[in-house]
């Protein structure tokens, strides 16, 4: 059990430090802090120009969405990056427990996502003069944690695909864009066509953002428990799919000797 935990936490941390190319502050600050903040400001100003929603709507939506950036990109790099660095064969030759090896890589990215989301919440509220009551902060923190974990599970799916496909960054970017348009980040699901809303409900983040907005409007954690449970379940389903894909591509890679082919 001790070895399992060591692999889960230490292995995850080591893979984060080694494979997440944005850890360098010269990259981290513009990419993980600057970009999400400007995204938030951009949509808030477009919202003002269109007289669509109030600023709080965009702060909550985009601050929770930015957790997704860290979780999706980080997790997909931490798994798919092994192929890029030609270390995948060595990792998969070990007898290490696959679940701890695989899911442990999501943990540091969840922590990073929470950090980025907090930064965007604070700066977004300060720059746009949005006020969210201090009483709501703990409940909002729970929403961010659940949503980020759910997004990291989705990131594991992208990372698993990266074990087989060539361009993990492309898939991670496409997933990010899909979530931006389908998950109600800047447009409520009610204002989207039915088919778009249906896709959005099957993706992580959608229910988390809805819960976050309700909490920012004064709801309690128990009021949004249904949304949070749904968000967590969606994350679990994606984690299961990701683990299945990981084992499938591992077996396929062994059979075809294609771990290091590009």
């Amino acid at each position: 059990m001790k070895g399992w935990l060591r692999l889960f936490f230490n292995g995850g941390l080591l893979s984060y430090r080694a494979l997440f190319a944005w850890v360098d502050p010269r990259v981290y600050i513009p990419s993980m802090l600057g970009f999400p903040l400007f995204q938030l400001l951009f949509f808030a100003y477009v919202g003002r120009a269109a007289s669509f929603q109030d600023d709080a709507f965009y702060v909550v939506g985009n601050a929770i969405m930015t957790a997704n950036a860290g979780a999706i990109f980080g997790t997909s790099f931490s798994v798919g990056g092994e192929r890029w660095t030609q270390t995948l064969s060595a990792v998969l030759a070990t007898p290490a427990n696959r679940f701890a090896l695989f899911v442990g890589r999501a943990v540091p990215n969840i922590a990073n996502g929470i950090l980025v989301s907090t930064f965007c919440f604070v700066l977004g509220c300060l720059l746009l003069d949005v006020s969210i009551g201090w009483d709501q902060v703990p409940a909002l923190a729970v929403v961010v944690v659940v949503s980020t974990a759910s997004c990291a599970c989705f990131g594991l799916v992208i990372g698993s695909i990266g074990l087989r496909a060539r361009d993990t960054v492309l898939y991670a970017n496409l997933a990010y864009l899909a979530m931006l348009v389908f998950c109600g980040v800047n447009v409520p699901l009610d204002d989207l066509p039915g088919w778009m809303a249906t896709i959005g409900r099957a993706l992580p983040l959608t229910h988390g953002i809805e819960a976050g907005r309700e909490i920012a409007n004064g709801a309690t954690l128990s009021d949004v428990s249904g949304l949070l449970v749904t968000e967590a379940l969606i994350g679990c389903v994606y984690a299961g799919v990701a683990y299945g894909l990981f084992r499938l591509f591992e077996a396929e890679g062994r059979r075809r000797a294609s771990f290091e082919t590009y």
Partner: protein, 257 residues
Amino acid sequence: MRRTLSVVRSSFRFHLKATLKSSATIMFMVIVPIVYATIAFFMYRGGANEVAVVWIAVAAGIMGLWSTTLAGSGMALQRERWAGTLELLFASPPPFAAVLLGVALATSATGLYSLVATLFWGWAFFHMPLHLAHPVWFAVAVPATVLALGLFGLLLAATFILYRQTFALVNLFEYPVWLITGLLVPLSLLPGWVQPIAWLIAPTWGIKAIHAATTGGSPGGYLAAAGALALASFGAGVLCLRYFETLARRRASLSLT
């Protein structure tokens, strides 16, 4: 002069072909502006202030143009560095600015895919009538803005020589320029200190010219301003390039990744 233009043309053709070989890049050029056009469309449709759908499509296309220019020009040096060809390009007799200008113009030109994609998106999914107030001016304003973006890209690429993590800056500069050029947000809504910055950027005026050509107005003055500022960007870019080249040679840091 003829030789320099020949280098620009060769560099332009080479990079245009290289970019168009990458299906992932083209997919990105098409998908990214469509995503933003879709979001902007629903925001404006749900909001109290209306804006012509055709302008949303054009604006999102220009956003794609900017993203392509930024990524292409910003990463131009880094790509050469990774390929180990940067020193060769600097050491060869033609001026490096001519090579880089060809790259910047090629990346801006490939961004036209974005504009075509968003116009098609508006027509196919939102039954947008493709009615332009001044079609001839539009046909002049679009290539002029592409040129302005390309020359502005050259300035950015020049300033990126000494910065190894250019892809991070490429990400950072995307949204701010979309904001301050007034594509989907009127400049009057932004803080007062932003406006003078916007006035100094050539693409702002090119975008004003395209807006006037699309929705009505007189684009001539805007185009003149865009042209003058684009030339200034080019001059500043060449000067920066020379300065940073000298600095990189002195430090022997040109190829360091």
